[in-house]
Symmetry: C2
Subunit: 257 residues, 2 copies
Amino acid sequence: MINKKPLIFISNDDGYQANGIRQLIEMLRPLGQILVMAPDSARSGSSMALTSSVPVKFRKICEEKDLVVFSCSGTPVDCTKLAFHVFFQDEKPDLVVAGINHGDNAAVNVHYSGTMGVTIEGCLKGAPSIAFSSLNKAKDADYSSYTSLVQKLTALVLDKGLPEGVCLNVNFPMTSVHKGVRICRQDKGNWVQEWEKYLQGEGSNSYLIAGDYISNEPSSSDTDRWAIENGYVAITPTTIDMTAYNMMNVLKDWFKE
Amino acid sequence: MINKKPLIFISNDDGYQANGIRQLIEMLRPLGQILVMAPDSARSGSSMALTSSVPVKFRKICEEKDLVVFSCSGTPVDCTKLAFHVFFQDEKPDLVVAGINHGDNAAVNVHYSGTMGVTIEGCLKGAPSIAFSSLNKAKDADYSSYTSLVQKLTALVLDKGLPEGVCLNVNFPMTSVHKGVRICRQDKGNWVQEWEKYLQGEGSNSYLIAGDYISNEPSSSDTDRWAIENGYVAITPTTIDMTAYNMMNVLKDWFKE
């Protein structure tokens, strides 16, 4: 494209009609030209799942100056892969942004999150990538008080880039006012009481997912979970290299002849 | 349970009827009592996806001495979470094992893999967890030459445990004979040409997933991809903590007042 404005790809896991992605688009329109490809319906908990059993389709929803929106029948990662395949063969986007997710993706949720799926996929493809999520999961949540923060961080990443293999997982607290930004590590914790019986009765083997998240380190003030629970914005730099380097020598000893 | 044999949970993403999981069950039966809950059909590329829109059901397929097999309507991670909820409230399994996957999960595939989904979920729940996958994706593949290796590694992990937050991603090469075990790091690379048009013609926006994996470091002999391409078994220790620690100070500088 001849336009010199940064090219920004946006997706999410709540679907293209969700309130969060609409607010994110408006926040980022002043910063560049935007291409959106997002799921045609809610796809929470998609992680980095791919659609391999059926074809994936997309269609144009709207086109305006410096903005085009497509909906897609696939997962968040399908949306990202397909947008790169169809639209970004010649010119990679300057930025991949996911969200704003209605529900936080801090702590172990990084593994289940379709929002982070978009972001990790963007990072795997070599584009600077950011996920925005909020502890406030209300469908009509107003995230507008985070506009200046979203614009500031996005402009910083457009300016400075991110190291190869590193993306950003950003989570907002519940409140519209926040106490500032904390650079965090991923909290250690567990989901408990994860299922509810769908049909009561002894013979029923039908369950609906539920659950509560319990931090194993609730008083560690350097974790993302602590930050959002205490009114701060958490930025967790996230790596796509999952190698546990400090375990390599232990394993080499196990297999020493 | 009163039985002193180790309790081993097995799942996969190819479904409970797949050849790979059947072979894995037979390999591990001498080592303990086994509970299987695996998807009722193939769920490749499930990553750590959860089912949140519909109830998840399971049913018993068979029960023998020290072996019970359930099929489940959910994803690999659903299977793991549901087995822990229903059967492992009082006693955690001594081991979670996933596979044997028909297709490798080395390199960036760790992110898309349902096999690794089971393993990371087991690790999140505090159980020592291992994934076995093979570069040989043939549905009728015979993995029996790996029996002694699977039994040796499984026994080592039962004996020594794994550090908190670390699981093992094991990948076999294509051949039935291997050159030995390599302790590896995750290869850096990309999938390319990821989509094929499902219906030809200019107006078609329907695609099927495809693609080839290209390593960015094909001559680095310490990566998992190199190992399996060169006839070795790759063991990649894998962490559930995705924090990019070396980026934290850079980000703190960005937000310094």
